[in-house]
């Protein structure tokens, strides 16, 4: 927190000093570092094991308590800005149905204990393969080990411990980044800083690593656009839109991964940059991609505090855009699954329920009965999106959907 305040002061000074593009900086996220959280993780693991031991010795059947991770157990408050875990818990009592999972949970905790101690890590896939040495208790599919990992994370999340703290990292990498941004990474062996200039990636892009808390940033950009599809990202990158508009482009590739969410969050929070989401105009783009980017998801409610971007806003494509930009004949009808998704969001999703503007938008889409893709602007020429749509929209960024 101290570091952030410093930056704010610095940038404030610079802003008044010159009209040149301001350079904003943010260092490594310190809050996860130090012995504090690591010790908390180790203590938590031992505490669970001791509880099991004590209950068992006393002739009882031990149970593990973890928060329920689904949309019905989250609350949304505009002030907090993300989905917060509710008070529902599930109890896993040792019985015939749970004995295997129970054993697997303890053995994965043991693995985490070793990794935290040795400062090593395992991908979720590797963790799955480690279990192959457990004989009968091995996992048959990675889906099973992922689920147990989520359970462990959920159990410890109340103490601020995440999967990353426990040294389990996701297999998939994050999204692609281009623009007026320099990422400062560290050489894992020497600890020397490595600078990656995201404006010097040629036709390629910087890839968000699976863990981002150790990164530092420098930027002169004014805002960030989070883009759903690789196609649109390529078009904007090819025509150097980020240079024209002085922004950072992030490709999410569907629902953004934890690392991408955390990356954008750190950029937006540390560098005080607004984030504009540019996704397809359909229930999936709004209710899954954008909603998860902004407030997190029900299934990962225990980590939303860090892994979402509360100050993101929804640039488009909106149903109103379809009308305003003459895309009516470039749409597709909503599929039954789309309609169900939109109706579910209106009925059950605390985020959409909190904003009348969103309710109106979803209803408008349902009434129109159509969806439109980002690429639909090509109807008016391949670069219509760069020359017309984006400039017009960004001029009125304050009117973006919350």
């Amino acid at each position: 927190m101290a570091a952030k305040k410093k930056i704010t002061k610095k940038t404030a000074k610079k802003k008044s000093a010159s009209k040149k593009p301001r350079t904003r900086k943010v260092g490594e996220d310190e809050s996860n570092k130090g012995k504090g959280l690591k010790q908390v993780a180790l203590d938590s693991i031992v505490a669970v094991a001791k509880m099991v031991q004590k209950t068992a010795t006393g002739g009882g059947l031990p149970e593990m308590v973890m928060p329920q991770r689904n949309l019905s157990n989250v609350t949304y408050d505009k002030k907090t800005g993300y989905f917060e875990l509710g008070d529902n818990y599930k109890t896993r009592k040792l019985d015939v149905n749970s004995v295997k999972t129970f054993a697997q949970t303890l053995r994965l905790m043991s693995l985490a204990q070793d990794m935290v101690g040795d400062a090593d890590f395992a991908t979720k896939r590797e963790a799955y393969y480690v279990s192959k040495n457990w004989g009968e208790a091995k996992f048959n599919e990675q889906r099973e080990s992922d689920s147990v990992l989520d359970d462990i994370e959920g159990m410890f999340s109340l103490k601020g411990v995440t999967r990353e703290t426990l040294r389990f990292v996701p297999e998939e990498h994050g999204g692609s980044v281009v623009g007026a941004l320099t990422v400062i990474d560290k050489d894992p062996e020497t600890g020397d800083p490595i600078r990656s200039d995201c404006a010097a990636m040629g036709s390629g892009a910087y890839t968000v690593p699976s863990s981002v808390d150790h990164l530092g940033f420098e930027t002169t950009a004014e805002f960030i656009i989070a883009i759903e599809t690789g196609g649109m990202f390529q078009r904007l990158n090819h025509h150097r839109y980020w240079r024209t508009a002085n922004c950072i482009l992030v490709e999410m590739g569907g629902v953004p991964t934890r690392a991408t969410r955390r990356f954008v969050r750190r950029l937006s929070e540390g560098l005080k940059l607004p984030v504009y989401a540019f996704v397809d105009c359909d229930p999936y783009g709004m209710c899954n991609i954008y909603r998860t980017l902004k407030v997190g998801s029900g299934a990962s409610a225990h980590i939303n505090a860090k892994f979402c971007v509360p100050n993101a806003s929804y640039m488009g494509v909106t149903p109103q855009d379809i009308l305003d930009f003459g895309l009516e004949d470039a749409t597709h009808p909503l599929l039954p699954v789309d309609i169900k998704r939109a109706k579910d969001a209106l009925k059950n999703d605390p985020f959409f329920q909190a904003y009348p503007a969103w309710k109106k938008t979803l209803k408008q889409m349902l009434t129109m009965g159509v969806r439109a893709e980002q690429q639909a602007f090509a109807k008016w020429g391949l670069n219509f999106v760069i020359e017309e749509y984006l400039p017009v929209k960004i001029k009125n960024a304050k009117k973006f959907l919350p």
Binding site: A49, D95, V99
Partner: protein
């Protein structure tokens, strides 16, 4: 073919070349046909269709007679059945019993005369019915080998008589070809029947082996020594119970079973003077009150002379009988095998895991009392058996092995259930598909009792279904006594008995599945619980002893929490 026949019809009918006969001329050719001649030409009606069946029928008739004789005399049957191969298709068959023996004068009639016997006229339950079987066997042997039968019989008081008999098939009369009084015989009383016939010996379904095995099931009070041509030593089917079934009582006809024609005959022949007396005297289950009720309903007078009842009045009386509620005939005339004995019989001859038996109360078809019994032997598919001990732990036990015969009545789990049909304890081997019992089994819904069943077929499973009908008169579909006529009353009773036994089987199969399920769950615990211990040991660094103790304590807690 059709075109040809139409063509023929179109032609004028050809005039017969032979001369027409007068009634007088015809009369010269009209003469009595001897029953034995008739059956010599129609041997299939008696079960001598082919060589294999001839062997079976011969043995079956002799064994049935022997068992009947023993039971009537209250003797626990001890039977010897031997088949010796003489030539390729010629066999010598011996059936010897420890029955009361036959007095010398009757031997020739019983064995050498068709339609001679004690059982045809009596309303008493017995294996034999018509008095045809054993003499037909002799006739068949005589026709195929030219030799007669040798009979040795001894009563307790008499001397052992040895007779060689042939039959004069034209006159239906026995002919004694050799006769002797033996100085000594190895039995105090009993009868030995020995005959040589053209036959084929085969194993498997509907074989003599099959018959003997099933007879052992339905007659657990009998011991059978059975020597086949293939064996050196006889197979011994030991009796499981010592007590001989009570001799069934003879009964009067039940009113419901008498048809109009028979009622008229009875009215004509009775010695009773008044109608009310006639009804009470000639029928069972009719007292004075019931008799008056019937007469009133028929609009007749209680003091009418039975001999003078006209056809129309008899008709009214007949209909009145059908309307009146009359209790079922007495069951003393029936000798069911009994639930305990059916279980004993099935248990000693099948290697099953579960036995269910059901007995129906006696019922009536056409005035004939009958009683249906059903037994089911079921083997758990897979072999090993799970048992729950007193402490609630489940253990695997080895499957029991068969005691007497290697021939197993139980098939595989995916095969149709084996149906054993019995009438008055006699196994019915042939014509299963045409039998009323089969119909009742296929019409019962076995799915609700835990067995699979293709639509309209026998259920599947490693199981035996035994159906027994005890009756003073069993309605066979033919004289070969191979299938039961599907009377509605009989079908209904068989189905109900099947349902009763089926419910017990269903409950067992469900419990069995539950135990298997529980066993699986408990092995699940045994499989994974050690890993809870390993996890704890790794995290906490506890000793091996401490780990094992925790696993054991947890195991006990889980077992206690899961009481069956």
């Amino acid at each position: 073919m059709r075109v040809e026949s139409i063509h023929r019809k179109g032609q004028n009918h050809p005039v017969a070349a032979t001369k027409h006969l007068t009634a007088e001329q015809m009369a010269k050719n009209q003469k009595e046909i001897s029953v034995s001649e008739f059956f010599a030409k129609n041997r299939h009606l008696l079960g001598f269709d082919n060589k294999q069946k001839a062997l079976l029928t011969t043995i079956k008739e002799a064994v049935d007679n022997s068992l009947d004789a023993c039971e009537e005399a209250g003797i626990a049957p001890d039977l010897l059945i031997e088949i010796h191969q003489v030539e390729e298709d010629r066999f010598r068959v011996v059936i010897e019993d420890n029955g009361p023996g036959i007095v010398k004068e009757q031997i020739q009639n019983i064995f050498g005369k068709l339609l001679y016997g004690s059982k045809f006229h009596s309303r008493r339950q017995s294996r034999g019915q018509q008095g045809i079987g054993i003499s037909a066997a002799l006739l068949y042997a005589q026709m195929t080998t030219g030799k007669g039968a040798k009979i040795i019989s001894k009563t307790t008081r008499g001397k052992p008589q040895s007779l060689t008999l042939q039959m004069d098939s034209a006159k239906n009369k026995p002919m004694i070809t050799k006769e002797a009084v033996l100085k000594e015989w190895h039995l105090k009383h009993g009868t030995r029947f020995e005959v040589e016939l053209e036959a084929t010996y085969k194993r498997g379904l509907r074989s003599v082996d099959d018959y003997i095995k099933q007879t052992a099931v339905s007659n657990p009070h009998a011991t059978l020594h059975y020597l086949t041509p293939d064996d050196e030593e006889p197979r011994i089917y030991e009796r499981a119970v010592k007590v001989v079934p009570d001799r069934p009582a003879e009964i009067k006809p039940h009113p419901y079973g008498v048809e109009l024609g028979e009622l008229i005959r009875m009215l004509r022949e009775t010695n009773s003077r008044w109608l009310v007396g006639f009804l009470q005297e000639e029928f069972c289950r009719v007292g004075r009150k019931k008799a008056l009720e019937i007469i009133k309903e028929a609009g007749l007078g209680e003091k009418s002379y039975p001999t003078r009842i006209a056809r129309e009045e008899a008709d009214a009386l007949y209909r009145s009988i059908q309307k009146t509620k009359i209790s079922a005939p007495p069951t003393t005339c029936l000798s069911p095998i009994g639930e305990k004995r059916i279980t004993e019989g099935l248990m000693k001859e099948t290697d099953a895991d579960f036995y269910a038996v059901a007995t129906r109360p006696p019922s009536v078809y056409r005035g004939n009392p009958f009683q249906i019994e059903v037994g089911i032997a079921w083997a758990k598919p897979g072999g090993d058996q799970l048992e729950v001990d007193k402490r609630g732990r489940i253990k695997k036990t080895k499957k029991r092995r068969g005691t007497v015969d290697t021939e197993n009545l139980l098939g595989n789990a995916d095969e149709p259930v084996r149906l054993l049909r019995f009438a008055n304890r006699v196994p019915l081997l042939s014509q299963q598909s045409g039998c009323g019992f089969t119909k009742a089994v296929t019409q019962t819904s076995w799915k609700s009792y835990g067995l699979q069943q293709p639509k309209g077929s026998m259920p599947l499973g490693s199981a035996v279904i035994l159906v027994h009908m005890a009756s003073v008169w069993v309605p066979f579909t033919s004289e070969a006594k191979e299938a039961i006529a599907p009377y509605d009353e009989i079908l209904k009773e068989v189905k109900r008995a099947l349902q009763d036994a089926g419910r017990k089987l269903g409950a067992h199969i469900r419990k069995d599945k539950r135990v298997a399920n529980e066993f699986e769950k408990r092995s699940y615990i045994e499989k994974y619980l050690p890993h809870v211990g390993i996890g704890l040991q790794e995290i906490l660094g506890i000793t091996d002893e401490a780990r094992e103790e925790i696993v054991e304590t947890l195991g006990d807690s889980l077992e206690t929490a899961r009481n069956i």
